[in-house]
Symmetry: C2
Subunit: 410 residues, 2 copies
């Protein structure tokens, strides 16, 4: 009965970080446009000053600011137009006092000029001169060299999950390829004589296989790839054969199903037989999610995870261990949590960390967190809940009115 | 100068909803495992009672609760074991007073039994009888028929974006195929003589094309697909030819680039020439994002969008119009906003809705929203900001200490 020596969530996480080695953070170079949602494996250094010329933020005339002093709505200052700068082309002339040059938004200010007057505040006086009706201070309408980003500074940090904004930033400095972490390859095995696959006809009491589909979805949401999902009958020999093969092609093998004590023991025994060092976590002090096992086969570099049979528990353990591990090893920022006020008391569980699913109810100044209670294994908790709240092991519970931080389901 | 008649954001949205027709919500049937992140195009009805048998939530003995009255830690009640139920198989016997049956977690309770006693509170007395050390009330450890979901009720609503939890729920009722909205097909055209592509060598003042990459990333984050991204020089004939072709293969054609007044006019003129009814929104009362144009070609069913040249503004307009439209037409739930307290004042703009980028700073009981100020077009605002706050058109601004709701960048 090794389940008596369960790990706390913290212990299980510490062991994971200690045991899992660098083979879990392979990297690859991919095209920028394919990198949405991927995680940077190295800092991106700014390759040049951004901008590397003094850039206008408006359509208008580049001037020497002091030339415009005294100008106003009814008092124009007249300046000679010496150049029309094109966007994408260097300015050629030097602006001297009494001169100006037309510069479009994004265009380069000529040397000598130190401010822009918007075209709306000017009037062409004749072919070669402009009337300026606005006094500007130096720097007005100008992005200075390096103002957006300095050459050599870190533009984006390792661990940045690339969204549209960061893709835009990379494009803006000409980067067309990025080094990202390789997605983890998973094999998902669900076991159970009672399991049948969705889409097939069901006899009374047969149970549709939920876990392999839900875990596959969770993994895909995280950018992981599935080598294979396999449904097995309860057969120790078959399980061993399947796991041996899966270990050769996967970074992580997830075995789910069979929530009964006996079945979990079989999974642990099989893993211990075929993997080195084998299982190091025999159960988690977690509610829901106790019957979880974690181990590794170092020769093949495969992490082995046994999940509880209950879908909600299985998903929670996958999230709290595997997705957590990914965030740690990929140096990803912590997920943003949603502050909310508990609408009613939720109990903790003695000696266990509790994950309580909650629904977020908009209220004045934020959200109320309403617990979604349900017997173990009810799928309906998943359709009602927006996320979950964690009750630390040493707490009796959380009281009505306390502020909590909700982990959102994606 | 049609930009003088700009639409408010609300007007632009109303026109969009009015003009865009049903060709924008085609649906398709896809396999459940391929449906993560996709949006349900029809309600999913629960096909049977879940569960459709009385299911045990524990490993233990199915009993008649009244038989256990008076049992306790030191006072066993002895019951005859009449059956061992296997998971996935129907129970066969009828339990009468004085009898019990072994039922594993997930297994079926035999008729007559009305509660479960966990195996931990029992002891095998001999081959055919068990000692029960726990008094249970009726229903204990049992999920009743239909308790999780009733046959014929809506399990998941049209508009549900399928995450791991909802995929699990669908699998649990045997559904292997779902009807989802087809992804919108985009062509993204960026224009500008000054633009060069990331990965190519840059001459002074040339500008890397940001918009097509950032908009492509935004679209992909939303599950849209890109038919093509095209970079064009400023050439009206070429633009017309490109848009004509794009309209035959795309649901949406996005033209970005050229932030100057003149260029936008060209885009609007080309669209008006080749599309029916053509452009109906000539500019938005939005900061940033004023030089945006929206129109349609009804014969080909193509939405045509001209975006501002500044990447931040372009992304904001795409988010506020196209992603907003997708949420509306797909019946998606509103995005969850993050409540936060403004750390400093932010100004509104007269006659415009303002989108102010902010960074979320954790504080006691939630987050502070710190404005990320930056001159128009600075990319660095995108690396610093977590999202944005909207200042309604008729507001002067938002004051320090006010609660705001932050729209997160993904």
């Amino acid at each position: 009965m090794q389940f008596l020596k369960v790990d706390t969530l913290e212990e299980a996480r510490e062991k994971l970080l200690k045991e899992v080695n660098s083979c879990f953070t392979k990297t690859e170079k991919i095209a920028l446009d394919a990198a949405v949602g991927r995680c940077l494996a190295s800092d991106v250094i700014c390759p040049f000053m951004v901008p590397d010329f003094r850039r206008s933020t408006v359509d208008g005339f580049a001037v020497i600011a002091s030339d415009t002093q005294g100008a106003g709505e009814n008092i124009p200052v007249f300046l000679d137009i010496v150049e029309e700068v094109s966007i994408g082309k260097p300015a050629k002339k030097q602006i001297r006092s009494g001169q100006c040059a037309y510069v479009p938004t994004g265009g380069m200010l000529p040397d000598g000029a130190d401010a822009m007057v918007m075209v709306e505040y000017t009037e062409l006086f004749d072919e070669t001169s402009a009337a300026v009706y606005n006094a500007v201070s130096p720097g007005r309408g100008v992005v200075q060299i390096g103002e957006d980003a300095q050459k050599g500074t870190i533009l984006l940090q390792k661990g940045t999950v690339l969204n549209a904004g960061s893709i835009g930033v990379l494009a803006s400095v000409g980067i067309s390829e990025v080094e990202v972490f390789c997605p983890w390859r998973l094999t998902i095995v669900s076991t159970g004589d009672e399991l049948i696959q969705p889409g097939t006809k069901r006899n009374p009491c047969e149970v549709y296989d939920v876990n392999s589909h839900a875990i596959l979805a969770l993994a895909r949401e995280q950018g992981m790839t599935a080598v294979e999902t396999i449904a097995l009958e309860d057969d120790e020999v078959l399980l061993e054969k399947t796991l041996r093969r899966a270990m050769t092609v996967s970074d992580i093998v997830v075995v789910s199903g069979g929530s009964s004590q006996g079945k979990k023991d079989v999974t642990a025994q099989v893993i211990d037989r075929i993997a080195d060092p084998g299982v190091w976590t025999h159960g988690l002090a977690l509610k829901p999610g106790k019957p979880a096992i974690v181990g590794m086969d170092e020769p093949s570099g495969t992490l082995l995870l046994g999940l509880p049979g209950h879908p909600v528990a299985a998903m929670m353990v996958f999230e709290l261990l595997i997705i957590w591990l990914k965030r740690k090893l990929f140096h990803e920022k912590e997920k943003l949590l949603i502050p909310a006020v508990m609408e009613s008391n939720i109990p903790g569980a003695p000696g266990k960390t509790t994950c309580q699913t909650v629904k977020l109810i908009p209220c004045e100044n934020g959200y109320l967190a309403r617990p979604v209670f349900g017997k173990s294994g009810l799928m309906s908790t998943l359709t009602q809940a927006d996320g979950y709240v964690m009750v630390e092991m040493n707490r009796e519970g959380i009281n009505t009115g306390e502020t909590v931080y909700v982990h959102l389901f994606s």
